[in-house]
C-alpha cells in the first residue's frame, strides 16, 4: 500500500483508495455484529493518538499541576500518556508547562528539535501562551508560539489538571483527524515542511531574532478605543 521513495525517503500511497462504499451507519451496524471494518489511516491515527508520551519537562508552577495530573487522583494513564520520558528522543509531546524566560527559550527550542517526528506541543498556562502575569517582564518570552508551532493552548494560571486532560483529549482528536497523504497531511508526512526550528542566540539586549517568522507573525494591531 505504501511505498518509500528511495531518493528522498518520502512515503507515498500507490493506490488511490476507492471512495468509501460503506456508510458510517453500516459500519456501526457491522461492528455490533462483531465485524470490524477500518482503514489503515484510522488504525494508524488511533494508535498514534492513544500513546502520546510526554516529555518529563517542567518549567514553573504549571509543572506541579502537570505532575498532579499524572498522579493518583487525575491519572493521566487513562488516556495513554502516563509514560513521562526524561529524554526528548523518546517523547512525542512537549508540554510547555510554565513561564518560558528568554534565558530558557533556546533550550526549549533545542529540546523540541531533538524530539523525533511525529511530535506535538501543548502550551499549558497563560505564561506559555503569552507570558501571562509576567508579560511585562524583561526576561519573559511572550508566548512559546513565537518560536515553535503549538498544537493546543490550555488557558489558566495554572490550568487545573482536568484542563490538561481536556487539552490532551483535544490533541487526540486532532491526531485522529490527520490524513496520511495528500496536501492536508501533517508536517511529519511532508517534505516541504521543516521539522526543526532555528534556535535564537543570546543578544546584548534581547534574543536574536526575537521570533521565528516561519511560525509566528505579529497579530494585527488592536484598535484603541479612546
Amino acid at each position: 500500500m505504501f511505498k518509500r521513495d528511495p531518493e528522498d525517503g518520502t512515503l507515498s500511497q500507490d493506490v488511490t483508495p476507492p471512495p468509501p462504499s460503506v456508510t458510517e451507519t453500516e459500519r456501526d451496524e457491522l461492528r455490533r455484529q462483531g465485524i470490524l471494518l477500518t482503514t489503515l489511516q484510522e488504525l494508524y491515527t488511533w494508535g498514534n493518538s492513544h500513546s502520546v508520551w510526554p516529555l518529563n519537562f517542567g518549567l514553573a508552577c504549571c509543572a506541579i499541576e502537570m505532575i498532579a495530573a499524572s498522579m493518583a487522583k487525575f491519572d493521566i494513564a487513562r488516556f495513554g500518556s502516563e509514560v513521562f520520558r526524561p529524554s526528548p528522543r523518546q517523547a512525542d509531546l512537549l508540554i510547555v508547562s510554565g513561564t518560558v524566560t528568554k534565558k530558557m527559550a533556546p533550550q526549549v527550542i533545542r529540546l523540541w528539535n531533538q524530539m523525533p517526528e511525529p511530535k506535538y506541543c501543548i502550551a499549558m498556562g497563560a505564561c506559555a501562551i503569552s507570558g501571562g502575569p509576567f508579560k511585562q517582564g524583561y526576561n519573559v518570552l511572550k508566548g512559546i508560539d513565537r518560536f515553535i508551532p503549538v498544537d493546543i493552548y490550555i488557558p489558566g494560571c495554572p490550568p487545573r489538571p482536568e484542563a490538561l486532560l481536556h487539552g490532551l483529549v483535544q490533541l487526540q482528536k486532532k491526531i485522529q483527524g490527520f490524513k496520511l497523504t495528500g496536501p492536508d497531511a501533517p508536517r511529519h508526512f511532508r517534505d516541504d515542511q521543516p521539522c526543526n526550528c532555528p534556535v535564537p542566540e543570546f543578544g546584548e539586549h534581547d534574543l536574536e531574532p526575537p521570533a521565528n517568522p516561519a511560525v509566528w507573525t505579529a497579530p494585527p494591531a488592536i484598535v484603541r478605543k479612546d
Binding site: 534565558k103 507570558g131 508579560k135 511585562q136 524583561y138 526576561n139 511572550k142 543570546f202 543578544g203 546584548e204 539586549h205 534581547d206 526575537p210 505579529a218 497579530p219 494591531a221 488592536i222 484598535v223 484603541r224 478605543k225 479612546d226
Partner: protein
C-alpha cells in the same frame, strides 16, 4: 539590643575617622540604618560579626536600590527694598534654583544574630555615582551568604563589588549588557500592548498605537449595548 546610635558611637570609638552616620527611617516600622563609608566597611562588618555583644553572625538579605539623578527645584524669595521708596514694602522676587542631586546606587544589608536572637541591624553602602564609580567593597569574605546576592545586585543594578571571589552575571545571560533593575532601563519593546486601563501600561499602549482610530475602524462588539 543596642540602638543604631549606640552602635554608631561604639564603632566610632573603634574606628576613629570612619564615616558612619545614622539614616533615620521616617516610616512607622522605624527600622533605622547605618550608612557606612566604603573605606572602613569591610573592617566594620567584621567587627559587627565578631563583637561579643552584637555577634551579627547572619547576613540575611542584600538589597540593591537605584537612586537616579533627581532635579530638585528650590524656591527662594528674594526681597529687595524699593529704591524709590526705601521705607515701603520691598519687592519680592521669587527665584527658582534648580539643583541636580547626583544619582547613586545603594546596597542595603540586613543582619541578624542567631546566637543572641536579635536583629535586624541594617546598614547601607553607597556608590559614588551610577556610571564609572559604581563600586562598593564586597562583604562576601565576611558573610558567605552575600555571595549570590551580591552577584544578583551586580547583575541587575550594575554595582561592582570589589573583592568578590566570583563576580559574574547570575540571573541574566553573560552577553547581556544592561542592568534591568535600574529605573532608567528600557526593556525591548517586544509585544503588542493590550489596551488595559492601568496607568503605566496604558501610556505604553498609546505610544504603540499613536493614531487615534476613526470610529469606523472600531469593529462593533457583538452583543454590546448600543
Amino acid at each position: 539590643m543596642e540602638s543604631p546610635e549606640q552602635i554608631r558611637d561604639r564603632l566610632l570609638v573603634q574606628f576613629p575617622g570612619a564615616e558612619i552616620s545614622v539614616v533615620t527611617n521616617p516610616g512607622i516600622a522605624a527600622q533605622h540604618s547605618l550608612l557606612l563609608g566604603a573605606a572602613h566597611a569591610r573592617a566594620i562588618a567584621e567587627f559587627l560579626r565578631d563583637d561579643p555583644t552584637l555577634r551579627l553572625d547572619q547576613c540575611s538579605n542584600v538589597t540593591g536600590i537605584d537612586w537616579p539623578e533627581k532635579e530638585i527645584v528650590e524656591t527662594t524669595n528674594i526681597s529687595t527694598p524699593d529704591p524709590a521708596n526705601p521705607a515701603g514694602p520691598p519687592t519680592v522676587v521669587e527665584q527658582k534654583t534648580k539643583r541636580l542631586q547626583p544619582g547613586f546606587l545603594e546596597v542595603v544589608y540586613h543582619l541578624y544574630s542567631i546566637t543572641h536572637r536579635h536583629g535586624p541591624v541594617i546598614f547601607r553602602l553607597r556608590t559614588g555615582n551610577r556610571t564609572d564609580q559604581a563600586t562598593v567593597p564586597s562583604l562576601t569574605p565576611v558573610w558567605c551568604s552575600c555571595e549570590f546576592q551580591e552577584r544578583e545586585v551586580f547583575d541587575l543594578f550594575g554595582v561592582t563589588f570589589v573583592g568578590h571571589p566570583d563576580l559574574r552575571r547570575i540571573l541574566m545571560w553573560d552577553e547581556f549588557k544592561d542592568h534591568p533593575m535600574r529605573r532608567d532601563y528600557v526593556e525591548p519593546d517586544d509585544y503588542e500592548w493590550e489596551p488595559t486601563p492601568h496607568g503605566a501600561v496604558l501610556e505604553k499602549t498609546k505610544a504603540h498605537y499613536p493614531t487615534p482610530p476613526t470610529p469606523a475602524a472600531v469593529a462593533p462588539v457583538k452583543g454590546a449595548a448600543p
